[in-house]
Structures are given as structure tokens and as C-alpha cells.
Amino acid sequence: MTPRIELPQGTLDLLILKTLALEPQHGWAISERVQQISSDVLRLQQGSLYPALHRLERRGWVKARWGTSENNRRAKYYELTAAGRKQLEAEESAWRKLAAAVAQILETA
């Protein structure tokens, strides 16, 4: 089993937004998805997911509605708004720039 690493500060919002870009999801599915896609390398503190979702909702980047889950239960689904999509693009490009810059420094220095 690969050792998991803690999520860097400030990246949780980005990951949530990215996950929601594909389709509306409920909270549990978001955490599963992040772990799956990152091949279990990233350890998502599940508890911090929900306050983060709430923050995003307050900023108007996601909106929430109650729906029925795949196992027929009442679940709260989050979906990206137009503003959320813009925010995702901005954060994504910022992140790529940062990652590239850090990688460059690590390789050359």
C-alpha cells in the first residue's frame, strides 16, 4: 500500500470543484472519487469535506439540492454553478503554474 500524503492547504476546494465538474455528486461520493482517482495517495480528511462544501455553497460556486441516491436514500447533491466553473478554471491554471514552477525549481536547483 502506497503511503498516503496529507492534502496541501487550500487544495481541497480545487479537488472538490474538479470532481463536481464531471457530474453532480453527494459528499460521500466526492470523497470516494478523490481517493480513487488519486489511487489512494491523497488522504482526504473526510470531516473537513463538509464544512468545505458549505463554504463553497456560500460563495456561490456550488449549489446543493436534496435528491435520491443510487441506493434509494435521501442525499444532498452538490453541483457546479457557472461561477464555480470559472473559479475551477482559475484555480486549475494557478495550480498548474505553481506545480510547474515548483517542479522546475526542484529539477534545476
Binding site: 460521500w28 470531516g47 464544512p51
Partner: protein, 884 residues
């Protein structure tokens, strides 16, 4: 943004729903996670445990979740408030006393603030009212501080002055309206035709006068709102209709707005024309509107230069100057000192209330010392605790404020009942019309503001004192020692000293007012005021077909009235006089010279008040005749002219001489000499405070007037003989209006009303202050007794007598009060000076009053200390020693 707000508001107000949703969401997560592990082969319990661990502690997540809602601060504030409310409910005694104390303080302040605001700071309903000034002439040699100018003065001022945008001249008068129901006496105002533009008044109906209507006589009348309502039932088609005023036909051209009644309480306004202006004599009113940027003293000095110039041109104006006073000041200057005094006094009451509540809070903080210590030990932050304290104080303050508003409402009801709506202004033949006092938005704002201010005063001190206490000491100390040690006691004692000092000042103020008022009421006005009834009668002699054109006809009419009135059952004496003492009806004064005295320079003369009276006047009013004789029915036109002078005139102009038999001359053409036949006692005509002015009495039959006051002394209650008196007059002339019916008691109470209001309110405040101070002293003394229970026990065990204990406790309380008295004494010397304008016959530093106030406060303090002291003496030494 909007979305954010919507979510926050929802979290705040739909808290239950939001929490439930949060729980649903988290539960769903745990279920799915658990299902996942169960599917992977873990037993259900183990699966559930792992799910919870991974989530990271349900309770923490929920707290984080709540933080993310962004209403954390408000929530904890609500918590504090809820906690505070529960605390306030717990010891109801504390809360009741604190709320009542605060409520009294805030309520009294709000009520007085409202009274002062509506009275003193009310702007008049006219254009640029803050630039309007009243212009009088004065003559200091003659002792005339303010008299109305003549028409010629107005014309000169208007022509020569540059300080004013415009000047308005007006004259009060009365007239008889006929042809519209029964004949009626109306209050009239004659004004220059710039009336409407000068005041910026928009009529309710029609128009006011135009400037060019001053050229030539126009019988136009503008109705006052109240008269239009009363006599024309607010008829909207009144403009253009006719009005018969003093027998002349007038055309109604407009109706004034109701607000103007605050300035002139009249019924009908008619114009002056230019010719008339030149003729009208003294005692008119002039308002000036200062040009923008012109200061009052600039205008005053310009007017004095003009007055000198006029004196050079017109000898009759020699020695005269002018007096300018802002209109808004004039209207309230008479009551202003009383109101400002009350404002100061009531602020003191609030301070005392604050000190008291602070003391209560300190005592309670003591009781809660353990609670605070435990909370501190458990990690409650200092700021969090301070916030808790302040939230509680604010809560108390606001509840106190609410109590105060209720009390203020009640106070304004009391004002409405007991404060007269009109207060006569001495020397001005006028009245201040007090506005209706109502609590408005500004009053409520004020109440909230001072409640919060009070909160800061009474809330912060105990909070800081109790937070200074060390946790360890508090926890270690046995149950009931001191919370704050010497510091807390010092604060407490200081509060009691301040309270006593403030109460002392108020008691002195009230004492001075009481003494002054009793001097005022007890003062001899120069006549017997009991059982006198007065009313005014004006013969409609200016009507065209009046039967009273000739002086002889007027004399005959009044004589007929008098003989009929004297025949009424229960009448002891009756007389007519031009003016009744203290009634503030129009003044009549004039010049005289003494025939037998050295000649004065030409144009120079003495002056005195004139009074036309019927023979029985002196007997009816009980004015003593010091020398000579009273008038008789023989002092008529056919017989030699005679006068009676009063004591004031005799002393001033005939010192060490017998004036009887000497002659006065009235310096106007064609007036014969008048022999002095008597000297009457001096009468306080204007106000009781003012020295009587020299007065000349003329026999009515020798100068019959048109308007007279009937004065009747009755053996029966005045109200019961009034119908018979009216009928007696109507038996002579059924169309004769009778107006201004007042008993002398009413007139007197009007004259003393400003003093009475000040006295009542100040006494109430002083009483309140005493009560609050007593509560404060009681509280501190009983606290000290509790605190020193052990010590007292030891003393008793060692053989101290109960009286020693009594001395110990009472002495401790009295020391504080005496310190307060000393501080209050110093303050009083400075402060009571400010009320000297209201005092009559007593100095503002009257030692007797000061001593009495100190005695009163000491007695109250003694009584307040006595109860806890008694409790201390009854302590069983054994119980006390074991007391923790």
C-alpha cells in the same frame, strides 16, 4: 453576495432545519462508508467504528460545519443573552430593584428631555425663525426695560436700519364680531401688510395681504385657523365672505395655518395702512428678520445708534434705547431656568441610579465569584467572560430602558395633567403657550442612548473589578469571604460617597425651592386675594351705531352694571378696574409732573402706571388706604379732577412730605391739574417678585374707559355666583360680551406656575435621589455586615456590647455619608448659584437650608444603616464564629 446572506440568515433563523439537514448529510455519509466496509467483509460494528474515525469525530465535524456558516459570533451572543436572561430571572429581587432603579432614572430623564426639547428647542413654524428678533424700546432712567415701540419708531427703523431683511409691526387688540350668531369678543392682531412674506406663511385657504394694500384702507381680514374652525365650521368656501368687526364690514381673504397659533393666539388678523402706521402710539410689537450673517450684537449696536438719532429728532424719545432679543429666546426665557435646572437635577438622578446598580452588580459578582473562578479554571477566556458580563449589563440596561420608557409615558401624562398649557410672562402682557409634550422617536432614541450610557457606567466597573480577582484565591477561599478584597470595598464605598453627594445636592436644591415657593405664596401681594372673581367687559363702542360713543354713556353703562352686580346675593363688594393686579392684562402707563415740585427741564417727566378704578375698588380688593380718602361717586366729570397715588409713588416722589392736597399734571395738552386726595398701599401688579411700581389711580367717572375688569369679592364660592353676575350684566345689556372669567386664585397660580412646576419636579427628584441613596447605603452596610460576621462574632465573644457593634456598623455607614455630604457641600456652593434666578426671598447658599439638607440625608442614612446594624447586634457569637 445575496446568496451568502441568504444562507447565513437561514442558518440564523432556521437553525433547527439547518442542523437537521447537517445531521442527515453526515448520517448518510457514515452509512455509505459503513456499507462499503461491510461489503469488504468487516463486521458491521467494526465497519461503523472505522467510518466514524475516518470522518474525524462527529461532534468536531459538526462544530467546524457550524463555524463555516459564518454566524458564530451572533450565535454565541444569543447564548450569552439567553444565559444572562436566565441569570436575571434567578434572583428576582436583584433584578426587580435594578430594573426599577434604572427605569426611574431613564424614565425621568426621558420625560424631562422630551419636555425640554419640545419647549426650548422647538423651532417656530415660520421662515428663518432663528433669525427673527423682537425689538423693544427701553428707558433705563424710567425703569422700563422693555416696552413696545410706536408706529413712528417702526417707520424710522425700517428706513434707517441696514441689519434687517425686513421688519414686521403688529398690535394686539380685541374686537366685537356681530352678524354671525351672537356678538362675540375676538382676539385680533393688526399687522403690516408684509405679514405673509415676512413669516413665509402659506395660508390654508386664500391669501394673506399684499404689500401695496398698505396704500389706503382695505377692510380685509385673515382668519386664524382655530377661529375658522370654531365660527365657520371649517367652511372651505369662507374666502370672499363678509365679517362685521366692530361694526365695519370686512372681507375674509384667507385662513392661516394652525401652527401659527403657537406664535399668536388670536382669532382675526387685519392690516395696518400707511397713514394709520404714522398715528399709532406705543406698545406695539416689532419683529425683525436679521440679514444672513448679521450678528445680534451688530444689529443691536446699529439700532442704538439709530435710537440716539431718533432721540435728537423727537424729544419724546429722549433717554430711550432699543433692546433686541431673539424671538426663540424670548418665548421661553421665562421658563428656561426652571427647565435647565430640572435637566441637571434629573441627570443627577440617573447618576445615582447607575451607582446603585453598579453596587448591586458588584454584590452579585461576589455571589458569582465561584462560578467565574470555575469557568476561568475550565479555560474560559478573559475576553469571553468580559463579554458575558457586558452582555448581561446591556441586557439589564435595555430592560431598564424599556421600564424607563413606560415610566416616561406616565410622566408625560402627568405633565399633561398638572403643567399648565399657558404660562403668563410677566411684563409682556403675553403668555408662553407650552406645546403638548409627547414622546416621539427622538425621545425613544434618547431613552435607548442613555440606557446604553448607563450600562457602560454601571456595567464596566464591576466587570473589571471581578475579573481582577485571582482564580486560585477565589477557589481556595472559604465560601463567603471577599471577592475582590479591599479593591472591591473601595469601589463600593466610593460609589456610596458619590451617591450621597449627588443626593445631597438635589435635597439642597429642593429645599431652596420649597423655601422660595413658600415665600412666594406667603408674600403679601398688597391686597387680599381670596374669594375674588374677575372678568373682562368691553363695551362695543367702536361699532358704528354703538350707544357708547360718549364717555358719559360708557360711565353710565358701567355704573348700571355695577349696581346690578352689587345687588346679587352673596356679593360682598364689587368694583371695576382698568387692570386687575397680576392678571398680565395690558399695561397702561404714562407720564406726570408734580405741580408743586421744582420745574423739570422741558420734555422731561416722571412716569407711573395708570389705573382707572371705581370708588369701591380699594375696599373690594382690600388695598389699605394709608392717608386721605377713597374715590366717591362725586368724583365725576362735573367736579374737580382728583387722583389717588400709591405708597411706592409717595415714597419715591414725596419723601418726607405729605402728598395730600398737592397736584399732579399729566403733560398732555388740555389736561387739568389733579389733586391728590389719598395714598393707597402698594400692590404687586406685575409679579410677586418685582417691587411695586409707582401707580396713579384715576376715578373712573373722570376718564371712562372702554374695557374694564369687574372684580367681585364674594361670600360664596366664586363659581356659584358667576351665573347670577352674568345675568345681572345681561339685565342691563343682553348683547354685552363677558370674557376672561378667572378667580384671583387662578391668576395667582398662573403667576407662580413656573415655580410650582420646578418645585414639584425638583422635590420629586430629590425624594427619588434620597430613596436610591438609602438603598445604596443599605446595600453596602448589609454587605459589610455579612463580610464582617466572623469579626463581629469575635468581638462579641470577647465581651463587646451590642451597642458597640451597633456603633461599629452605623459608624461605618455614616462615615461614607458624611464624606458624601462634604463633597456635596462643595458642589452645592457652585451649583445652587445657577438656580438663583428661580429663587425668591432666599439666597442660593442659605445656611439653614444647607444644614437642614445635611440633617435629612444623615437621618435617611442612619435609618438605612440601622436595619443591618440591628441584624449584626442580634448575631449569636457562636453562630457567627462558625460562620464561613
Amino acid at each position: 453576495m445575496m446568496r451568502d446572506l441568504a444562507i447565513r440568515l437561514r442558518s440564523l433563523f432556521r437553525r433547527g432545519a439547518v442542523e437537521a439537514e447537517m445531521d442527515d448529510e453526515l448520517r448518510f455519509h457514515l452509512e455509505r462508508q459503513t456499507d462499503k466496509y461491510v461489503a469488504a467483509g468487516l463486521p458491521r460494528e467494526e465497519a461503523a467504528r472505522r467510518a466514524r474515525i475516518e470522518l474525524g469525530g462527529l461532534e468536531q465535524v459538526r462544530e467546524q460545519y457550524r463555524d463555516a456558516r459564518g454566524v458564530r459570533f451572533l450565535e454565541s451572543l444569543l447564548q450569552d443573552a439567553g444565559f444572562g436572561l436566565r441569570l436575571l430571572r434567578k434572583p428576582p429581587g436583584f433584578t426587580m430593584v435594578a430594573l426599577l432603579t434604572l427605569g426611574l432614572g431613564v424614565g425621568a430623564n426621558t420625560a424631562i428631555f422630551t419636555l425640554v426639547r419640545t419647549t426650548l428647542f422647538r423651532s417656530l413654524p415660520v421662515r428663518a425663525s432663528n433669525r427673527l428678533v423682537v425689538i423693544w424700546v427701553n428707558n433705563l432712567e424710567q425703569g422700563w426695560s422693555r416696552i413696545g415701540p410706536a408706529g413712528q419708531d417702526y417707520l424710522d427703523w425700517k428706513q434707517q436700519s441696514t441689519s434687517f431683511e425686513d421688519l414686521l409691526l403688529f398690535e394686539h387688540g380685541s374686537g366685537t364680531v356681530t352678524g354671525n350668531g351672537e356678538p362675540e369678543q375676538v382676539a385680533g392682531l393688526r399687522v403690516t401688510t408684509n405679514f405673509g412674506t415676512f413669516l413665509g406663511v402659506t395660508p390654508v385657504l386664500g391669501r394673506t395681504f399684499t404689500l401695496d394694500e398698505a396704500n389706503g384702507r382695505h377692510n380685509y381680514a385673515v382668519l386664524a385657523y382655530r377661529y375658522w374652525q370654531r365660527r365657520f365650521a371649517s367652511d372651505p368656501s369662507v374666502v370672499g365672505r363678509g365679517l362685521t368687526l366692530n361694526g365695519d364690514a370686512y372681507t375674509i381673504i384667507g385662513v392661516l395655518p394652525p401652527e401659527l397659533n403657537a406664535l399668536w393666539a388670536v382669532d382675526v388678523v387685519v392690516p395696518f395702512d400707511n397713514d394709520w402706521l404714522k398715528r399709532v402710539d406705543s406698545d406695539l410689537g416689532v419683529f425683525g428678520r436679521l440679514k444672513r450673517g448679521v450678528k445680534l450684537d451688530q444689529a443691536s449696536s446699529e439700532m442704538n445708534v439709530i435710537a440716539k438719532r431718533i432721540a435728537g429728532e423727537r424729544p419724546s424719545r429722549r433717554g430711550f434705547g432699543t433692546v433686541l432679543v431673539p424671538l426663540e429666546t424670548v418665548r421661553v426665557e421665562f421658563i428656561r431656568p426652571a427647565l435647565l435646572l430640572l435637566l441637571g437635577a434629573v441627570a443627577f438622578v440617573l447618576l445615582i441610579a447607575c451607582a446603585n446598580v453598579a453596587n448591586l452588580m458588584l454584590a452579585r459578582a461576589d455571589a458569582r465569584r465561584r462560578e467565574i473562578a470555575v469557568r476561568t479554571a475550565l479555560g474560559a477566556g478573559r475576553t469571553r467572560l468580559l463579554r458575558q458580563y457586558l452582555t448581561e449589563s446591556v441586557l439589564l440596561g435595555l430592560l431598564g430602558g424599556a421600564t424607563g420608557i413606560v415610566l416616561a409615558l406616565w410622566c408625560t401624562y402627568l405633565f399633561a395633567r398638572f403643567v399648565p398649557a399657558q404660562i403668563p410672562v410677566p411684563n409682556a402682557a403675553d403668555q408662553v403657550i407650552l406645546p403638548v409634550v409627547r414622546l416621539d422617536a427622538a425621545s425613544l432614541m434618547f431613552a435607548v442612548l442613555i440606557s446604553l450610557l448607563a450600562t457602560i457606567m454601571f456595567g464596566t466597573v464591576p466587570a473589571f473589578v471581578s475579573l481582577r480577582c485571582r482564580v486560585n484565591d477565589a477557589l481556595k477561599e472559604s465560601g463567603r469571604g471577599t471577592l475582590s478584597g479591599p479593591r472591591g470595598n473601595r469601589v463600593r464605598s466610593a460609589l456610596v460617597i458619590v451617591e450621597s453627594a449627588l443626593a445631597f445636592v438635589l435635597v439642597i436644591g429642593a429645599g431652596l425651592m420649597i423655601q422660595s415657593f413658600s415665600n412666594l405664596v406667603g408674600a403679601n401681594p398688597g391686597f387680599h386675594s381670596d374669594r375674588l372673581l374677575t372678568m373682562r367687559i368691553k363695551l362695543p363702542d367702536d361699532a358704528k351705531n354703538s350707544p357708547y360713543k360718549e364717555p358719559r354713556q360708557r360711565a353710565a353703562a358701567f355704573q348700571a352694571f355695577l349696581s346690578h352686580v352689587e345687588a346679587v346675593l352673596g356679593i360682598e363688594a364689587a368694583a371695576f378696574a382698568e387692570i386687575v393686579p397680576l392678571s398680565q392684562d395690558d399695561m397702561d402707563m404714562g407720564y406726570f409732573v408734580i405741580k408743586e415740585a421744582p420745574r423739570l427741564a422741558p420734555g422731561e417727566h416722571f412716569s407711573a402706571d395708570y389705573r382707572d378704578v371705581t370708588p369701591q375698588y380699594f375696599r373690594t380688593l382690600g388695598i389699605p388706604l394709608l392717608r386721605g380718602r377713597a374715590f366717591t361717586d362725586h368724583d365725576s366729570m362735573e367736579n374737580p379732577r382728583v387722583v389717588i397715588i400709591d405708597e411706592a409713588l409717595a415714597q419715591r416722589y414725596f419723601p418726607n412730605q405729605d402728598p395730600i392736597g398737592m397736584h399732579l399734571q399729566i403733560p398732555e395738552a388740555g389736561r387739568p391739574d389733579r389733586e391728590i386726595v389719598g395714598v393707597a398701599g402698594a400692590v404687586h401688579d406685575v409679579s410677586i417678585q418685582q417691587e411695586p411700581r409707582p401707580t396713579i389711580y384715576f376715578p373712573y367717572l373722570q376718564s371712562p374707559d372702554q374695557t374694564m375688569s369687574l372684580v367681585v369679592r364674594t361670600g360664596l364660592p366664586p363659581e356659584s355666583v358667576l351665573p347670577a353676575i352674568k345675568n345681572a350684566i345681561w339685565a342691563v345689556d343682553p348683547n354685552q360680551p363677558i370674557f376672561n372669567v378667572r378667580s384671583m386664585d387662578e391668576i395667582l397660580s398662573g403667576v407662580t406656575s413656573a415655580h410650582r412646576v420646578a418645585l414639584l419636579a425638583l422635590s420629586a427628584f430629590a425624594l427619588l435621589a434620597l430613596m436610591l441613596a438609602a438603598i445604596g447605603i443599605y446595600g453596602v452596610t448589609s454587605y459589610v455586615v455579612t463580610q464582617r460576621t466572623q469579626e463581629i462574632g469575635i468581638r462579641r465573644a470577647l465581651g463587646a456590647h451590642p451597642s458597640d457593634v451597633m456603633q461599629l456598623v452605623v459608624g461605618q455607614g455614616l462615615r461614607l455619608v458624611l464624606a458624601g455630604v462634604a463633597a456635596g457641600l462643595a458642589a452645592s456652593f457652585a451649583l445652587t448659584r445657577l438656580m438663583s434666578a428661580l429663587l425668591f426671598g432666599v439666597r442660593s447658599t442659605d445656611p439653614k437650608t444647607f444644614a437642614a439638607a445635611a440633617a435629612v440625608l444623615s437621618v435617611v442614612a442612619l435609618a438605612a444603616c440601622f436595619v443591618p446594624a440591628c441584624r449584626a447586634t442580634r448575631l449569636d457569637p457562636m453562630v457567627a464564629l462558625r460562620h464561613e
